[in-house]
Amino acid sequence: MHDSLTDIALLSFKRSIPFLSTLFFVLVDYVPFHIPLAHYLSPDLACCCVYFWVLYRLDLFGIFSVALLGMICDALSGAPFGMNIFVLTLVYLLTITYGRYVNTKPFIISWIGFALVLLAAFCMKWLLVLIYEHTLLSFWHVLISYIVTVLVYPMLARINIFIQNRYLSNEELFDE
């Protein structure tokens, strides 16, 4: 039962926190830090967040959020438009399909699950670029980016867990 318009707005805002936090991380991912080899060392934070929120709060992170995020990533990265939508949707699909095997397990299991999902996502990206651009991307650069993303995941998951526990643990946020 919602008392006022403010409560409804606050609730809507809280429900969009996963998307907004993910958007924040995606935007941070595209901020130039002038670090050597930044292109190759930059982790795919969108994949990390999509995996996390779909795994733990599917009710707050639907397919449309994923598609919108993919579109934003495409626009920002200059990648072929539609590529990130496709890849993030694949992450979404894999996570909701196989998520139940890792959802209630220790963190290390979900981390391994993420590594496998990310592997599929990177392979798909690599394949799409190959088809789209007729160019074989450097295997080593893709591998480095993959490893960095896998290594960054625990830290990002930690932040997302904090957000979940701090702002999203209220019962009224859960779908009935």
Binding site: P32, M71, F81, I85
Partner: protein, 285 residues
């Protein structure tokens, strides 16, 4: 009533799963369609991309402010580290420079003392004229050549004549545009010289042959074959340390010197005025 609600809930859940699956499928195909349209350079796709970018780039610009701050800190730390290393290297360099400076000062003092002892006068700035050899007169009686110099060029009697930085003679007489050069191999040529290695003095005398004689070196002089012979500057005609030849043979106290430049092969000469000839002419007068 409860049963009906449960059935409705199950039906709703199934519907939601169906919608989700349908949405996923639609989005997959939409993404593929976007990729194809993007490849075809569709104006609509470009517009959509442009719209999203225009919306988000200002946000990134705002986010860039703290990022720039972080980079500034990183850059500053890197600069400080660089300054530290540079400072270390410069200190070492300065230490070496100080050592060299002290050495240089000691050498300068030594040089001043020796210059005073030798009555050394630094040579004035030299002026150069290149002239073509138009006549050679080399026989048993005289070794001289004639070079052409335009009248507009002022040549002084006694000027040093060189070729490839080696002394070959001096200006003996000037006849309008023609200059006669007395070669070092001429019997009248007597040049005060040093042994470059030992600084032992002597007189290099021509003898109208291709070889020169080194005289007045002393019986116990340290001279070996190959020693370079240079002008000593004594006498005031030639400046010091101009190369002439090298010792080619030593036999029975006679030292033969081979000119570095074979006289017969000279085509062009360089007439150098060191300003010393003025003194010579004044003394002669």
């Amino acid at each position: 009533m409860v049963k009906r609600r449960r059935v409705l809930f199950i039906q709703l859940s199934q519907f939601r799963v169906f919608v989700r699956k349908l949405a996923v499928t639609i989005i997959f195909f939409a993404a593929l369609l976007l990729l194809v349209l993007s490849k075809a350079d569709s104006a609509h796709v470009n517009k959509a991309e442009d719209f999203v970018s225009r919306m988000l780039y200002p946000v990134i610009r705002v986010l860039q402010i703290p990022a720039d701050g972080i980079y500034f800190c990183y850059d500053s730390i890197r600069d400080i580290v660089k300054v530290y290393h540079d400072n270390k290297a410069l200190k070492q360099e300065l230490f070496q420079f100080n050592r060299l400076k002290k050495k240089h000062q000691a050498l300068k003092i030594e040089n001043d003392v020796l210059s005073q002892m030798l009555h050394y006068t630094p040579p004035p700035e030299a002026s150069y004229v290149t002239a073509k050899v138009i006549a050679g007169q080399g026989d048993s009686f005289a070794h001289s050549i004639v070079a052409y110099v335009p009248e507009t060029v002022h040549i002084k009697k006694g000027s040093v004549v060189m070729n490839q930085e080696t002394v070959i003679g001096r200006v003996e007489s000037i006849h309008g545009e023609y200059v006669r050069i007395l070669l070092v191999s001429d019997i009248n040529s007597k040049i005060p010289v040093f042994n470059k290695r030992t600084r032992g003095r002597g007189i290099l005398s021509g003898n109208n042959s291709s070889k020169l004689s080194l005289l007045f070196m002393g019986s116990d002089a340290d001279v070996v074959v190959g020693d370079r012979i240079v002008t000593s500057g004594i006498g005031g005609i030639f400046p010091s340390d101009l190369e002439i030849g090298y010792v080619s043979q030593i036999s029975q106290g006679e030292i033969e010197v081979q000119p570095i430049i074979p006289i017969e092969s000279i085509e062009y000469v360089e007439i150098v005025d060191y300003g010393l000839t003025d003194t010579l002419l004044r003394d002669n007068n």
